[in-house]
């Protein structure tokens, strides 16, 4: 007991000092009040680097050559060997705003001439189970940190890479995925919390593997995809409702889920222009390095 009394006295004195209004106590209090939030802010903002670079999304069915294209554009000379991707992967690339480095080969060099603009090229897995990541990037309905490469407002374009050599067999799958991508884009244009519509997102259908002799030319790829998308649209409209759709929403859903011009007989990519979506089909080959036209398209978007 006797040992604890001096400590108690001491504490009491300190408490009294703090509670008595005096200039140093008030200043220290004010300093704490002002600086702690600022420090907390810096602590958090340091941990989540804010990336606001524009980005181009690589989508498409598995085996199309997305990752291959990504490595080709990054390395500039040859594409790396690739296998099925499981995770999305972004790469920072530069395009020159003036005509300094006209091809990706020059842009990939570190001492490329001209002034540069940086952007992300985001590769997404094309396996059926993992397409959610690409869709999250497009629609942006998830939280901001769900897509690690900036929010979907910075999305400038989508490269839909597909294998033109085996399109006959994989047409249904490729078209279904494209249907979902286009529908997500269309909804994105239509819905917006503000009156300002989000920036236009253009779609490039990159018909890859032109080096193989079974590869279809761009025009044929276009017409086949349009026909298949039309069929999908038709059967979707006749199909069953999704579970979880309430009875009261049935009427309104109809028009939203129709890709392109509502009620039109045939689907063409031109109908997407109504929603500020330009669709181009350009063929090329990653293996031969024949991707200059795609690079030009990217340069135009950034």
């Amino acid at each position: 007991m006797s040992s604890s009394t001096p400590i108690m006295e001491h504490l009491k004195g300190a408490l009294e000092y703090i509670l008595t209004p005096s200039t140093p106590v008030i200043t220290i209090g004010l300093l704490i009040v002002f600086f702690v939030p600022i420090l907390v802010h810096f602590f958090i903002s340091r941990q989540t680097p804010y990336t606001s670079l524009p980005f181009i999304l690589l989508a498409g069915p598995a085996g199309g050559g997305k990752t291959s294209l990504l490595t080709l554009l990054e390395r500039g000379d040859t594409a790396a060997e690739t296998h099925t991707s499981q995770t999305p992967h972004g790469v920072e690339l530069t395009v020159s705003s003036d005509a300094g480095a006209s091809t990706f080969r020059e842009a990939a060099r570190e001492d490329a001439p001209g002034s540069h603009k940086k952007f992300f090229l985001v590769d997404t897995p094309g396996h059926g189970k993992l397409r959610g990541t690409a869709m999250a990037h497009i629609s942006g309905d998830g939280k901001a940190n769900q897509s690690q490469f900036g929010d979907s407002a910075m999305l400038r374009g989508i490269m839909y890479v597909l294998d033109a050599a085996t399109l006959d067999d994989s047409l249904a799958d490729a078209a279904t995925y494209l249907y979902h991508v286009l529908l997500a884009l269309q909804k994105r244009t239509g819905s917006g919390s503000t009156s300002r519509s989000p920036n236009a997102v253009h779609v490039l259908i990159a018909a890859n593997k032109l080096d193989l002799f079974t590869a279809l030319p761009a025009l044929l790829v276009r017409s086949q995809l349009e026909a298949e998308l039309g069929r999908i649209r038709q059967s979707r409209s006749k199909g069953l409702l999704d579970s979880g759709v309430g009875t009261d929403e049935i009427g309104s859903e109809e028009q939203d889920n129709w890709l392109g011009e509502y009620g039109s007989e045939k689907f063409t990519f031109g109908q997407m222009r109504e929603f500020d979506i330009e669709v181009d089909v350009i063929s090329g080959s990653v293996l031969e390095g024949n991707v200059d036209k795609w690079w030009d398209w990217i340069s135009d978007r950034i």
């Binding site: 907390v40 602590f43 958090i44 941990q47 989540t48 598995a62 085996g63 990752t67 990504l70 490595t71 990054e74 390395r75 040859t78 790396a80 060997e81 690739t82 296998h83 099925t84 991707s85 499981q86 995770t87 999305p88 992967h89 972004g90 790469v91 920072e92 992300f120 590769d123 897995p125 396996h127 059926g128 189970k129 993992l130 397409r131 959610g132 940190n145 249904a172 799958d173 279904t176 069929r231 999908i232 059967s235 979707r236 006749k238 199909g239 069953l240 409702l241 999704d242 579970s243 979880g244 759709v245």
Partner: protein, 666 residues
């Protein structure tokens, strides 16, 4: 021997690879899809940092894949070899290379937003490990039985193809090539030609015959192996080994690049036995003095041409050993990390609490364990079978270990997010299916496809009383609305009243769709007949009469009754259904796993279920765990859910809806 060794990232880029015999990329792609994406393996998917021996080898198309995975860096190490071979040292090779690679290039791998990893120098490390482990493997007595077989195999394919896998005696000659792909096709051809012409100089006859060549080679390598056994005394290696080398030397003027092709561009004279005999033995003696590994001396003296090269390899060996050793020590140390003092632990607790609120906390096993228990409990309450719940939780826990939480994100929120992703991945089908389009493709084939028009056959199976007939008539109603001509086959020839029940459905459906021109008939053969025959007749009749779709009802059967289930195989063979759908109740609990498994495996080899219909979803509210249980058990997607009593109460399955229900707290 080893066909290919690859190091690839989860984003799909091959960082480094060494190919001895070209394999189809489809092998590795299938491996990734099955093990990592669809998690088909019995022990669930990708375990982090587990030694290769614990990962079940993956077999595909006569090849076996041994693999290990570093989750933190997202790197997969795969070794591919022929399933015929039994290579006991592969596990060790993969593990050691993983340790070395992570140690050397871990920093590069952590860099964001790039796929470039400069690892050209890894060739040398690989060669060192490969030689060391292989020679160790061959000196083992257990290997003696199957090694001669390897030589034979090597010799055979060497004769047939232009990419001979090397017999070990030659393989040790492998020199590191820093650039893997510099061999252009013409030079390949040229080198093959040279290889063939240089063969007659092989000692021991020099004939082109298979026997003539493989014979001496095997003998020679056996001797070499025996030498490795005998050379415990370093002094003897000085005079014996080089002389034997000298005999074989003209044959060995080949180099093998990473693609497994012979490359003779720099045709170095390898016969050093005469000129450099003294020098080699000198350096060997010196090397033996420096090294403790006796057998290592032998292999290096085989593998290098100059004494200078020898030292390079030796240094590399030391470095590799030190890397492996330090990794081992680190492993041991991490097992017994001493906790900080009272003050230290107190501070870390406060820091942990703070970070728990603010976020940015690195999740440890302790943090996760408690929260995961809660999540498991939650899933069980949602009627998910325990087996599936445990698998999901384990997957999420593995995924989250060592992950930092985001700003102002609690552990529970992070787990919920990861669980949502995990559930979505599990429930999303690999290939989306649109029933109407598939029917159209079969019933109205395009003129170019050369297929004959035939009716689309759907059969429905399930346990008693789950609603097979009801769901069949719901699907029928949906098809009738889309103007298809439907024939319903009464395959339940067992339960009294079953045929009459279907007749009532057909009458109702006719009335309902009369105005829209619905066209539906019933095909029945009364009771007591063989269901498979009835189905077969129904399909034939439908083809003759021009029906679009045949819906076959079957008798309900208990999934663990072997007698009843065995008739399904015959049924699948006779009726040849395009789609076999199983109806499962949302009400059933843990038994759903066994039901789905048994039905899925009852159609004979090569035939599985094509989809599930989950009935009575309206009666369970949020407890839709059955969905997860059956998909977990079979990897077969859910196609439809039944949500009410009316013909129109059938819905496409929406993954988002199910995940929302499963994770909702009410």
């Amino acid at each position: 021997m080893l066909d290919t060794f690859e190091i690839l990232t989860t984003s799909g880029v091959v960082l480094w690879s060494r190919t001895y015999a070209p394999i189809s990329p489809a092998i590795v792609n299938h491996f990734i899809a099955d093990i990592f994406i669809e998690e088909k393996a019995a022990s669930t998917g990708a375990k982090d940092n587990q030694p290769t021996a614990n990962n079940p080898p993956y077999k595909y198309d006569q090849h076996t894949l041994k693999w290990t995975f570093v989750k933190e860096l997202g790197v997969i190490f795969v070794a591919v070899y022929r399933s015929l071979l039994h290579l006991s040292w592969i596990d060790k090779l993969v593990d050691n290379l993983k340790t070395i690679f992570v140690d050397l290039y871990g920093d590069q791998l952590k860099k964001p937003n790039t796929t470039l990893v400069h690892c050209h120098k890894f060739d040398e490390y690989f060669d060192q490990q490969y030689q060391e482990l292989e020679s160790r493997g061959t000196t083992k007595g257990a290997q003696a039985a199957d090694t001669p077989f390897h030589f034979e195999e090597g010799a055979v394919s060497g004769n047939l193809g232009d990419d001979p896998p090397l017999p070990p005696g030659l393989k040790q000659r492998t020199k590191p090539h820093s650039t893997a792909k510099d061999v252009s096709p013409p030079s390949e051809l040229a080198s093959i030609a040279i290889t063939n012409t240089s063969r007659p100089s092989t000692p021991g006859g020099g004939s082109h015959l298979l026997v003539g060549k493989s014979g001496p080679m095997t003998r020679m390598s056996r001797k070499a192996r025996k030498m490795q056994h005998n050379h415990s005394a370093p002094a003897s290696s000085g005079d014996e080994a080089p002389s034997r080398k000298g005999k074989k030397a003209p044959k060995k003027g080949r180099r093998w690049d990473a693609d497994g092709f012979a490359d003779e561009k720099d045709d170095v004279q390898l016969d050093y036995s005469a000129a450099q005999n003294t020098m080699t033995s000198d350096s060997e003696a010196e090397a033996t003095g420096r090294s403790t590994a006796v057998e290592g001396v032998d292999s290096t003296s085989w593998g290098t041409t100059t004494s200078k090269g020898q030292f390079v390899l030796r240094d590399l060996g030391d470095e590799v050993h030190s890397i492996l050793k330090s990794a081992e020590e680190k492993n041991a140390a991490s097992g017994a990390t001493p906790r900080g003092g009272l003050v230290g632990s107190g501070l870390s607790t406060i820091g942990g609490l703070f970070r728990n609120v603010v976020g940015g906390k690195t999740l440890t096993k302790d943090d996760l364990d408690k929260a995961m228990k809660g999540m498991e409990e939650h899933l069980l309450q949602k009627n998910v079978a325990r087996e599936a719940a445990i698998r999901l939780c384990e997957g999420v826990e593995k995924e989250l270990l060592g992950v930092k939480t985001g700003s102002f994100e609690s552990i529970n929120a992070r787990i919920a997010k990861a669980m949502e992703a995990s559930l979505t991945k599990m429930l999303t089908p690999t290939s989306s299916s649109d029933l109407l389009r598939e029917i159209d493709a079969v019933t109205r084939p395009s003129a170019t496809s050369m297929r004959k028009r035939r009716p689309y056959v759907i059969s429905i199976v399930g346990v008693n009383g789950v609603g097979k007939s009801t769901n069949l008539s719901k699907i029928c109603f949906f098809l009738l609305q889309n103007k298809y001509k439907v024939l319903i086959a009464a395959g339940d020839t067992f339960r009294s009243g079953a045929v009459e029940q279907l007749k009532v459905h057909v009458r109702n459906l006719k009335e309902l769709t009369e105005r829209e021109g619905g066209n539906v008939e019933i095909f029945e053969k009364g009771y007591g007949g063989d269901a498979a025959t009835v189905a077969k007749d129904a399909v034939r009749e439908a083809a003759n009469e021009g029906y679009d779709v045949v819906l076959i009802d079957t008798a309900g059967r208990r999934h663990n009754d072997q007698r009843l289930m065995s008739s399904l195989e015959k049924f699948a063979k006779f009726a040849q259904p395009d789609k076999i759908l199983m109806v499962g109740e949302a009400l059933v609990g843990t038994d759903s796993v066994a039901q789905a498994r048994n039905f899925n495996s009852s159609f004979g080899p090569g035939r599985h279920l094509d989809g599930f219909i989950i009935s009575k979803c309206d009666t369970v509210g949020d407890m839709v765990g059955t969905l997860v249980s059956i998909v977990h058990a079979t990897n077969v997607p859910v196609l439809f859910v039944g949500v009410g009593q009316h013909y129109s109460d059938i819905r496409n399955f929406s993954v988002k809806w199910a995940v929302e229900k499963l994770l909702s707290n009410s």
